[in-house]
């Protein structure tokens, strides 16, 4: 067996989901969207804010899921793309008085370019080495943002304060509620685009590369181009999430976007189920709410409690929320038969 054949028959880097199992059924989708639309009408502003953050982190986890679950590339550097998106929106809004909604596509495009360029050197790396290279990116980003040279735009260590937008057309709703529905609309649009993408010729190319690069290349897939495109798409979506995050939190500062954020997003992807797009939002809920729950159980040992909860999840449902969803589906099927 030649070296090439050995590579060709190697197991894929990521244990992944068949394409059909990537989304929810139409009935479940309807219920989820209905809940997301109705619940904010009955809860306090703080809860609405947390739901907004859930959607935003969900988008960032979804972006990582496209990269890792889709094309099989690891990244611990998503916080860097998130930071670039957040700063792009903040700078455009505060320094150039551009409408908040218009800053998001700009953040997306800039991050797409950044991710695409970063994907070029990353082509030579795979698996843990790629994870390390992206880790370096995440570590470097906060310091780059603090550089004196950029200070006139970024505000240096101080960061920038962002004004929260009012609801347009005199709609009778709070700023938080408006921002929630605005974020929800963008999230649904990006989710639909992502599902379309992964079900298309490009998505098949990503997954073919994930499963077997040499065979993919023999089928005419330009492995280098599609790998960098996956990085670009992932970074672009993360950038939009970052921009939304800046608007929701009303503040950007270098130390909000450290490696801890990148690891949280990675954690969210694993807990949600690698390659399962709806799981991104379950994962986001985990990284937002579980630390709070842990604090509720024990103030002093919240980190340890969080660790124990994480252990439990990984031992009981190693495939994350996807596994839970599949078990639930089987149970429902049985119930219907009885």
């Amino acid at each position: 067996m030649s070296a090439v054949e050995e590579i060709a028959s190697q197991a894929p880097a990521v244990e992944a989901v068949p394409k059909r199992a990537m989304t929810l059924s139409s009935g479940t989708t309807f219920v989820v969207v209905l809940l997301l639309l109705v619940v904010p009408l009955f809860v306090k502003n703080f809860i609405i804010f947390q739901m907004t953050m859930l959607l935003i982190y969900g988008l960032a986890v979804l972006a990582l899921n496209i990269l890792t679950g889709g094309s099989g590339q690891f990244s611990l550097g998503q916080s860097a793309f998130y930071a670039v998106g957040a700063y792009t929106s903040a700078i455009l809004m505060e320094q150039y008085n551009i409408n908040y909604a218009l800053t998001l596509p700009v953040a997306g495009v800039i991050c797409f370019g950044f991710g695409f360029l970063f994907g070029q050197p990353a082509l030579r790396l795979s698996g843990v080495y790629l994870a390390l290279a992206t880790f370096a990116l995440a570590t470097a980003m906060p310091q780059i943002l603090k550089l004196g040279f950029f200070e006139q735009w970024t505000g240096g260590v101080q960061g920038l304060v962002v004004t929260k937008p009012d609801a347009p057309f005199g709609l009778p709703m709070s700023q938080d509620m408006w921002l929630y529905y605005f974020t929800l609309a963008i999230t649904i649009a990006i989710y639909i685009f992502s599902v379309n993408l992964l079900r298309s010729r490009s998505g098949r190319a990503f997954m073919a590369i994930r499963d077997n690069e040499i065979a993919a290349s023999a089928m005419g897939i330009d492995v280098a181009t599609y790998k960098t495109l996956a990085f670009g798409v992932s970074a672009g979506i993360t950038g939009v999430a970052g921009g939304l995050g800046a608007i929701a939190v009303q503040f950007v500062a270098p130390d909000s976007y450290t490696i801890v954020l990148a690891i949280s997003l990675f954690l969210g992807m694993v807990v949600g189920g690698v390659g399962w797009l709806p799981g991104s939002f379950v994962g986001a809920a985990f990284i937002i709410f579980v630390p709070n729950i842990a604090e509720g159980i024990s103030k002093g040992l919240s980190g340890a409690v969080f660790g124990v909860l994480l252990f439990l999840v990984i031992f009981l449902v190693p495939h994350g929320s996807r596994q839970v969803a599949m078990v639930a589906q089987q149970l429902l099927g049985k119930l219907r038969k009885n």
């Binding site: 068949p18 394409k19 059909r20 379309n196 010729r201 098949r204 997954m207 005419g220 897939i221 492995v223």
Partner: protein, 265 residues
Amino acid sequence: MTQAQLAPTNDPLLAVRDVSVVFGGIVALNGVSFDMQQGQILGLIGPNGAGKTTLFNCLSRLYQPSAGDILMEGCSILTRPPHRIAEIGIGRTFQNVALFPNLSVLDNVRVGTHARTSSDIISDSLRLAWIRRSEKSVNTKVHEILAYLNLEEVAHKAVSGLPFGTQKRVELARALAADPKILLLDEPAGGLNHEEVYVLGDLIRRIRDDRHVTVLLVEHHMGLVMSIADHVVALNFGRKLAEGTPAQVQADPDVIKAYLGSKDQ
């Protein structure tokens, strides 16, 4: 394309010209030449280490020959990167089956159409009308190929759970989805039992006849090669030992010597 159609039929579809491959100081292939005619099933045989797989990997552009040239319809393929071989009509299967294990049979074969379709990530994300049309024709074609190879029943199953023989057929289906002019088969009989090998032989011949594909068969299984090949090239120690019809090659004293040792023993 038009040049090839106008050319007289005795022009080779694929020409291997004095191809040599050197790894470090080891000569894996030494000035090998042969032609493949349109519609032929050409068997490439030789003992272990003869250079069959090396030559195969030159054809699929995984190795760069140190000397010589490989011409497809008169044009060199050596300037093309590996992913641009499928578009000129060279398809392949792998020695130990290299499918996309997490994808369904249907999607594996759909990936095979990649070289024959086009799209970009923006149109794909928005599922524009021309993308929907293109996907529709891809589906028609893929289902036709699945029906042709009796794979419709397993179309929605993930390939990783299928029996080895079925996986080999999926790989053939995936290669056919790219409308190849030449199909390179790397030891297709490996891992199959006696009966399966002859079913496979019939299938290869049927594919050649129905779909007008020229086949290069790299194979250890002498029975299969001798029963279906029109033309056989025998390699040993990186050199061409003999070439001709199966009967000629089987009777060639050098070939007998390479496989069995000299006659006197």
